[in-house]
Symmetry: C2
Subunit: 528 residues, 2 copies
């Protein structure tokens, strides 16, 4: 299927392989070498020739795993390129079993909590190599020194494929690196994580009634005893020590924190390495980590993961878009108006305001509002709205349609000096699913897909398609999840007719890149 239309893509691959910028974001860094060459997911095992042929926007071949290859848990995967919106497939994927080994802590770059608005991040991983060692999963369990986790990830690039490729190669190492700092703690399930590392609980004055620090601290803590919201409790009486309780942090929270900080470090590495490499564009990131019996689904962007269990649908992510993050973005624009460059207004209007409407009353929405009201239009309102458009057409600063992800450090509003990055967040939302709390059958799966899939198929349609497909397969056929993924991507792409790609009921198929994992859940408690 890959060779059918080779001729159709002749001519542009030279540009591709040398890092041609397909997104039109400008030519920043294009004279620098690539960090990694353009590629398709490593686990597909494609030759350069095959990679070239996969980029056929007319045939749009669906790529799946070769029969000789197998992913952990017999995971199914399929992908297809877009119908022409960009020369390359800007989706990327990764699936690995990773070992985070015990190491001296200093080896890992410290996560960097924000200290001041101008704080710069410190050192990042140079390359990620060797930090998390990929292992042959047949040898799992032999490693008593480290912590093994399974990892699946989808990245949806924009304005170039550089960031997506870098993230697909390195994010798992950042996760491994963050987990390294807490390996001992995670393995010791008998006791909760200590608040301070290397301190005996008995040495902690907070549990003994000693005077904990300066007088001011006592005054502050005293108000904790006061009536709800009433400050000014008497400051001359130290409170009884039992009020100095500690928050008890669960092991699960450490894993969530590790993944959150790994995304941050990945983004910082991209920013840093853009100085020496050509890393184009940005990307969304959706990752699944399986560790110690639980699935951690982390999402920064508009990809989506759902669990299908016994025909029920359990959403495992929410999308981050200009519409879903409107209030956060407007709040930021309101707080730091210089980020709007005197060209945008943080207020939202139903459409662009015209000069002749100054003085009239128009519908608007401020960052505190979910409803709408009328305001008298003034000159300030003639600026372009920070959030504009609806649904898939909604944009931040008239530029970008997704509000979380990695990269995009150079992205500016067209023909201006206004940076988009301050409005984007690299921080994922992490949802946890305890695999051990449920019995899972062979048809219970987690489906991950880029927005190309979900734009045209609802959760319900995806669940029905997957469930129906799997029900018609031999439950012992390890290739069934790959076939189901292929079927799913086919349903979202559709078939080429006179007037474009069409799916069921003559609806339009997705012209976007589409990538999907189908992960069977029954392997969570038994290593295949």
């Amino acid at each position: 299927m890959l060779t059918r239309v080779k001729s159709a893509v002749a001519g542009f691959m030279g540009g591709i392989m040398s890092g041609g910028n397909s997104g039109g974001v400008g030519n920043t860094g294009s004279e620098l070498p690539l960090k990694f060459p353009y590629m398709r997911p490593e686990f597909l095992g494609l030759s350069l020739d095959e990679i070239e042929c996969s980029a056929d926007h007319i045939a749009r071949p669906i790529l799946i795993l070769k029969e000789t290859r197998r992913l952990p848990w017999a995971t199914g995967y399929a992908e297809v390129i877009n119908a022409g919106k960009s020369a390359l497939n800007e989706d990327q994927a990764c699936c690995e079993v990773v070992v985070a080994r015990r190491r001296p802590m200093s080896y890992c770059p410290p996560s960097t909590p924000s200290k001041t608005p101008t704080a710069k991040r410190r050192n990042s991983l140079p390359n990620g190599e060797g930090l998390g060692l990929r292992v042959d999963h047949s040898k799992l369990g032999e490693d008593s020194e480290g912590l093994v986790f399974h990892y699946w990830a989808l990245f949806d690039g924009h304005a170039g494929s550089g960031a997506a490729i870098v993230a697909s190669r390195l994010l798992q190492h950042h996760i491994a690196c963050q987990l390294q700092a807490v390996i001992e703690i995670l393995r010791n399930v008998a006791s909760l994580p200590p608040t301070v590392l290397g301190e005996e609980p008995d040495n902690n004055p907070y549990f003994q009634g000693n005077t904990p620090g300066p007088h001011r601290a006592l005054t502050r803590a005293a108000s904790l005893r006061g009536a709800s919201g009433a400050p000014g409790s008497p400051s001359n009486t130290p409170p009884p020590p039992r009020f100095f309780t500690e928050k008890k942090i669960q092991h699960e929270s450490l894993v969530i924190g590790a993944i959150e900080n790994a995304f941050k470090e990945m983004d910082a590495q991209i920013e840093k390495e853009k100085q020496i490499y050509n890393i184009t564009g940005g990307c969304t990131a959706l990752t699944v980590v399986y560790l110690l019996g639980k699935l951690y689904v982390a999402n920064a962007g508009d990809s989506r993961a759902i669990i299908i269990r016994n025909n029920d649908i359990i959403p495992m992510s929410t999308e981050f878009t200009p519409e879903s993050e409107r209030q956060r973005l407007q709040f930021l624009g309101f707080m730091q108006p210089h980020l709007l460059g005197n060209e945008f207004t943080h207020l939202e209007f139903p459409r662009r305001v015209q000069r002749k409407e100054v003085g009239k009353r128009m519908l608007y929405r401020d960052f505190t509002m979910n409803g709408w009201a009328y305001k008298t239009v003034n000159d300030e309102d003639l600026k372009f709205p920070l959030i504009y458009g609806e649904g898939k057409k909604a944009r931040v600063l008239a530029t970008i349609g997704v509000t979380r992800g990695l990269g995009d450090h150079d992205l500016k509003v067209h023909d201006s000096n206004i940076y988009i990055k301050p409005f984007l967040s690299c921080c994922p939302e992490v949802k946890v699913y305890n695999l051990q709390q449920y019995e899972h059958g062979a048809d219970d799966v987690l489906v991950m897909g880029t927005d190309g899939l979900w734009d045209v198929l609802s959760n319900q349609e995806v669940a029905e398609a997957v469930t129906t497909f799997l029900a018609n397969c031999d439950p012992d056929d390890l290739h069934r999840y790959t076939m189901a993924a292929q079927d799913l991507v086919m349903r979202a792409r559709g078939v080429l007719r006179d007037r474009g790609w069409r799916i069921t009921n003559e609806r339009l198929g997705s012209g976007d890149d589409i990538s999907a994992f189908i992960i069977p859940l029954m392997y969570g408690n038994r290593q295949p």
Copy 2:
């Protein structure tokens, strides 16, 4: 029941009636006259003597409606004072039928969208009198000039009762005032609200393909057509006019916007009038507006509303506390560190950091995180955490346990010049319930309660108590909701035993002020 323990409260009422400050927030404004005297809800019709006796912290009499009085929809109400945490009952309540009359728009203070961080609000209502006219509800429907809405509200004051009293007297007028601006639009259900007032759709170039404004606007809009997130579409080709679509705003959104802006105006009025009146403290606000077949439940604070329908529980509000709003507050502290006065850190720690722990690794959480990670403690981390404590003991700036509401403009961190108000929001979250979509029986109700109720009773316990109580009443007895409210408040207060107030299963009863409305829903489609 009110006269039983008159002697127990002798002595302090003089101070009360002249506006004594019970919250210890300082003496700001105490030499000024009161805006309104201390009172209990007007609809209770209490004499001054009865008001005095209601403040008995030992007997804690439960106040209900007199038999001769009746609220709209036969609403039930009950309240009880706290067990001594403040001299007065700092809860307040209001229930009215209000008419928003058609008036020239200029009569209403304009809502003031935030322009810059330093923008000051413009003129506010002087007193609210006459803006929304209270009506005898037996005359409902006679008013063809205005828009009638039903209104229920609970306010839970802190650090004094002033703000709660002012809000309980005036907030409904601000809502009426905001609704006045859209009366014509709301009455015309046949067409959607116009984007601009006073403009014919035919004159709108956005629907005609005319050139809409300057070249720059075209360039910006052009990127809307681009691939997801890909900026830089060609700027020399004007896009076809069909991309200049408008957002369609529903009528419901206008009501939500009106309520949101009414809260903002109420807060601005309190701020302004503190210059000339003694208005102590702050308050939460939970309001229910019934308008044109729908219930709008607006909440700013930690009160709660639930609907009990056919034994199902439908939450109609969420609480705003230091824990639920942690990330918003930390983000603000991070963005505007001067608000922390060099004494607080926006980072969260499980407990106060000690000086001797500098250099060690401690658990922390930044504004982007839901999980926890370890960081090396530095001097900066010795500052007090912006958010500190757990559950009901959680505080912002070591001072306040609720993060939305009205008032508190003067509130400062004890013994400092750090203001709390920038971290508080006066904006409610508004949830909508379409009464006309369901059939409601006599036992289907909306329950509103201040946190004194919900601190000791779960949603489930409240639903069971109310449902069981109502099932044992005559369905035609209009007094049944009052009795049910009394029963509910009794269950939350408990009875006085040797060791304090006790409820079912020997649990501790609430020592807080407790107020509750029980609103039957079947009257939504028929005026009683």
